[in-house]
């Protein structure tokens, strides 16, 4: 696993969430319950961008809605609300001063 810079806290504060390609991984970084989280931004359906829209709340559940065909993923565990077998990978995050790093293979 390699430690890679994905962005800064400044970027995160500005956008509340962001995604970026690092080492052929498209990673979605966001704030969840005051913690910085990183999950895959690649929708397992057809590859759409999971974090295109801001987080919304659906029936009390916070979700990302993939731009292409609207599959929704729970922000806490990355599981698709419609097809529980589809789950987004979570990446380990390290914060170092203003920098956000992720571990990628």
């Amino acid at each position: 696993m390699q430690k890679k810079l994905i962005g800064t806290l400044n970027e995160l504060n500005k956008h509340k969430q962001f995604s970026r390609w690092v080492n052929d991984h498209d990673i979605l970084v966001f704030l969840n319950k005051n913690k910085v989280k990183a999950i895959s931004n690649i929708c397992p359906h057809f590859g759409g961008p999971v974090g295109y829209h801001e987080i919304t709340e659906v029936n009390g559940e916070k979700v990302f809605t993939c731009l292409w065909h609207n599959l929704q993923f729970n922000v806490d565990n990355g599981v698709c609300t419609l097809h529980k077998n589809l789950k987004l990978r979570e990446y380990e995050v390290i914060i170092d001063s203003d920098n956000i790093f992720v571990y990628v293979n």
Partner: protein
């Protein structure tokens, strides 16, 4: 005698033809990628060459949604035709699409639109041309990043309904095979519909106004 308004739009891409056909035959993406223009699609029937659907669509300069019935036919690997009916079949529009791939695997798309009108409405020709060209460009701008990303994940070994193995499983090796020819199987399998009713599969828009940051921040 029948009278038609006509409009022609054409643009080149650097994508393979099959990827473009995937985009056009992925009917459900209209309520996702094109959420600004469509709020519902009901796919009544679909096979590997045809698709019958109903859509709620908003055209440029027209401030309300129109319910259309649409019948798409893939005539061959390079040509498709779509018949649209609206306003209790009073409105009939035909669109023909041509896909021309060059020897580099790049493809040009040409769309020709015809709208049947009574003779006195042929004066609307410039207005029709303007609407249809604008629509082509608006939708094209939303489709291009989708096509680009689809090709990118395809090159990284993406499998539909599964994703990329090395992304899902950190123990997996990176996908290093040379470019696989883009594969297309029609009809495209559906899993994102709200309802499976007797009259078809219903797909609904979930985001009406997006607060978004888009496809991602630029590379560091």
């Amino acid at each position: 005698m029948k009278y038609f308004l006509k409009s022609k739009s054409s643009l080149k891409t650097n994508f393979p033809k099959k990827l473009l056909l995937w985009n056009y035959w992925d009917h459900e993406h209209i309520v996702g990628t094109h959420f600004k223009h469509y709020k519902k699609v009901n796919i009544i029937y679909e096979d590997n060459k045809t698709c019958l659907s109903e859509r709620l669509a908003k055209l440029p300069y027209i401030p309300f949604y129109i319910k259309t019935t649409d019948f798409a036919i893939l005539l061959n690997g390079s040509q498709m035709v779509v018949y649209h009916y609206a306003l209790f079949n009073l409105l009939f529009c035909k669109q023909t699409f041509y896909f021309e791939e060059d020897n580099k695997g790049y493809c040009k798309v040409t769309r020709i639109d015809y709208l049947e009108v009574p003779r006195f409405l042929t004066i609307l020709q410039p207005f029709f041309d303007k609407i249809m060209r604008k629509w082509f460009i608006d939708v094209w701008k939303e489709d291009m990043p989708m096509r680009k990303r689809r090709l990118r994940v395809w090159k990284l070994g993406f499998n539909d309904f599964r994703g990329i193995d090395y992304v899902n499983n950190p123990a997996e090796k990176k996908f290093t095979k040379p470019m696989r020819p883009y594969k297309l199987e029609l009809p495209i399998a559906k899993i994102t519909h709200e309802k499976n009713t007797k009259s078809g599969k219903v797909f609904l828009r979930k985001i009406e106004k997006s607060k978004h940051i888009g496809y991602g921040l630029p590379k560091l």
